[in-house]
Amino acid sequence: MFDYSVLDRAIEKFGNEEKSLIAVLQEAQENYRYLPKEIFPYLAEKLNVSEAKIFGVATFYENFSLEQKGKYVIKVCDGTACHVRHSVPILEALRKELGLSEEKKTTDDLMFTVETVACLGACSSAPAITLNNEIYPTMTPESAVALVKSIIEKEGK
């Protein structure tokens, strides 16, 4: 049985109407780490919107994912400031270390997801990345890989 209680609490909080859709989806994304198929008919009924509309919203915003994301989500900023201070090599180093690519964003063990983001708003710390929404400033390919390795080690224990 799928657990809908997360959605019920979110709907309680934001109201059972169409305009609550994005807020409810954000709660769902946070809790399940993606938007499972099961929530579509449930939300369609509760918020009185079509599943096609929810699908449209879910595919419009980068923040929503239809595939499960890893426990650790790393966002590599590729905004102008980070880009000119060499963010691309950081991204490439992370992908190589974890066996990921532009198409394959999440490791098979659902531990890591590596994505790019247009701007983190941390231009003064460029090049910056975030790990589960925590900022790591002035990174290098080496320091990024070291960060990943430290997590793998911690999780291995």
């Binding site: 096609a52 929810i54 699908f55 449209g56 419009f60």
Partner: protein, 572 residues
């Protein structure tokens, strides 16, 4: 004092037009547009309808409210350059197989590319996949022909509240999609075809079944009979130079015989049969305390809609089969010929194509009672393909025994027609007296929701007539909440009823704002009714003969077996 604005030097009086585009059309200036439709909300996506003001600024005519003193031009060098660029970009992203496209000759993109003299597209074409979604019996979707005008989405959501499709993905990857990009047949789509009726290109079209029918006609071993629905006769003529709403049934029958159909019948007799059964059911429900209000059951898209969204109201829907199915089961059950018998129905409707495939409407061997359904559009193409000069044809009459009909049946094609036909029979049956005036004008007209209350010898009968599924859902919600005290509700999915069905000849957006084509088609039916000597279904002697010789009692055992059905909630 009246207010004016100046469009291309023409003084245009402002009378509450909702935008500059409509006002321009009123003074005879056609500003090109893809995404604007008078019945839908304003989207402003295509940017074709830009105008230039005195200071050289550009704005979209569809989303600008006319203001007194405005001076604009709709066709300047700057605008022409921009429009050509828009067209080139759309064409670069469009599968340009015009010669083999279903919409060739009616496509807006094709028309504008010609009008704006686009002879060279400077950008590489990156959309030539012809893969299409063929999963539905009613409509076909070909995404590579979509220009993202969004009319289908607005129709499906705003007018029909079905919500089968919406915009998905983003930027250059954006497309019109069902949830999870699945097959349309597995979506909430009810097959009404109104999306295809507003699609300016060939991205959504009504499924064409003409080839299957040609094959049957061409086989001498097969007897092919055909029935023609009421709304077809007032729509088809538009394609052959007749005025909107002109009844061309006589010529159509001649054309069908020339094409090789063995027997041509009129769905109208099925409609009379429906009224006899349905008014009997209504009276039974009212006097014996059955479930009320009773909903009509003629419209297959409404049935799909109810099975999906209002399963708790299924017992309120009349168990009567639609006129098409009633006539088909009668024709098949009384057929005595030796040859294999194929029955075809010509309908203004795309949902009928789906209705004919329902398991409940198959014979004991699993063959559909209606083997093929042709839309009005399909038949127009077949007539052209056969090389018939339609306008010059003599008129002829349908074949016996399914020929005789009353005025009550012919008005089925307009919103309110089924209600009026049922009232004529029900009121006479309840009172036992002849009606002085058979016209129930309160339920006529193209409004989406109509209500009326009648005093039938002390018995109050309150009725509602609804077209468009959004309107239907408003009424259904009221019924569910116990806030509606109607006894009888007619529901048609397409705004205005079957005259505006998804399978009818295509009417472009410009004509949709300029001409009341729905009203004109409906008047064609009401005029035919007014000319009839017999205007009440229960006075159809052919129908009564069928009861005497074949069905037995009205609402009896055999009638139930052949003329009624039941509904089941959609499996999810």
């Amino acid at each position: 004092m009246s207010e004016y604005m100046i469009i291309d030097g023409i003084k245009a009086e402002i009378n509450g037009e909702k935008n500059v585009l409509e006002l321009a059309r009123k003074v005879g200036i056609e500003i090109p547009a893809f995404c604007y439709d008078p019945d839908l909300s304003i989207y402003g996506a295509c940017r074709m309808c830009m105008f230039e003001d005195e200071r050289g600024r550009l704005d979209a005519a569809c989303s600008t409210i006319p203001k007194a003193g405005m001076v604009i031009k709709t066709n300047t060098a700057k605008l022409r350059k921009y429009r050509k660029m828009i067209l080139e970009l759309l064409l670069a992203n469009h599968c340009r197989d015009c010669t083999t496209c279903h919409m060739s000759g009616k496509c807006k993109l094709q028309e504008f590319a010609y009008k704006f003299n686009i002879e060279n597209v400077r950008f590489p074409n990156n959309s030539c996949s012809l893969s299409s979604d063929q999963s539905s019996y009613s409509i076909v979707r070909t995404p590579s022909k979509c220009i993202l005008c969004g009319k289908c989405v607005r129709m499906c959501n705003e007018i029909q509240s079905v919500g089968a499709i919406d915009y998905a993905f983003r930027g250059s990857k954006m497309k019109i999609s069902t949830a999870f990009d699945g097959d349309i047949a597995n979506s909430p789509c009810v097959g009404c075809g109104q999306c295809a009726a507003v699609c300016p290109t060939g991205a959504i079209t009504i499924r064409d079944d003409a080839d299957l029918v040609w094959k049957a006609i061409g086989n001498p071993e097969i007897e092919v009979s055909v029935q023609v629905a009421p709304a077809v006769r007032v729509g088809l003529g538009e394609e052959f130079g007749f005025k909107e709403g002109e009844n061309v049934m006589g010529k159509l029958i001649t054309a069908l015989r020339e094409m090789g159909f063995d027997k041509v019948y009129d769905t109208n007799i099925g409609a009379d049969l429906t009224i006899v059964e349905e008014s009997n059911e209504l009276i039974h429900r009212i006097t014996k305390g059955g479930k009320l209000p009773m909903f009509t059951s003629c419209c297959p898209a409404w049935i799909r809609f109810a099975e999906d969204k209002y399963p708790e109201l299924l017992d309120n829907i009349s168990t009567c089969r639609s006129p098409m199915q009633m006539l088909a089961s009668t024709i098949k059950a009384t057929y005595t010929g030796e040859k294999k018998h194929i029955h075809v129905a010509i309908m203004p409707c795309s949902a009928k194509k789906d209705e004919a495939r329902r398991d409940k409407f198959k014979d004991k061997d699993g063959n559909p009672l209606v083997d093929y359904v042709l839309s009005t559009q399909d038949v127009v193409r077949m007539i052209r393909e056969h090389g018939i000069h339609f306008a010059q044809l003599e008129e002829s009459l349908p074949d016996v025994p399914f020929k005789e009909y009353t005025g009550a049946s012919v008005i089925f094609g307009a919103s309110g027609g089924v209600m009026e036909a049922a009232l004529r029979t029900a009121v006479e049956t309840i009172t036992g007296e002849k009606l002085g005036d058979v016209e129930f004008k309160e339920v006529r007209g193209m409004e989406g929701v109509k209500e009326a209350e009648y005093d039938v010898k002390g018995l109050k009968v309150k009725v509602a007539v609804v077209s468009g599924l959004k309107n239907a859902s408003i009424i259904c919600d009221k019924v569910k909440a116990g806030e509606a005290d109607y006894q009888f509700i007619e529901i048609m999915s397409c705004p205005g009823g079957c005259v505006n069905g998804g399978g009818q000849p295509f009417v472009d957006a410009f004509t949709r704002s300029a001409v009341d084509y729905k009203g004109l088609r409906a008047s064609g039916l009401y005029n035919t009714d007014a000319d009839m000597s017999s205007r009440k279904s229960h006075e159809n002697s052919a129908v009564m003969e069928l009861y005497n010789n074949f069905f037995g009692e009205i609402g009896g055992h055999k009638a139930h077996e052949l003329l009624h059905t039941h509904y089941e909630p959609k499996k999810k």
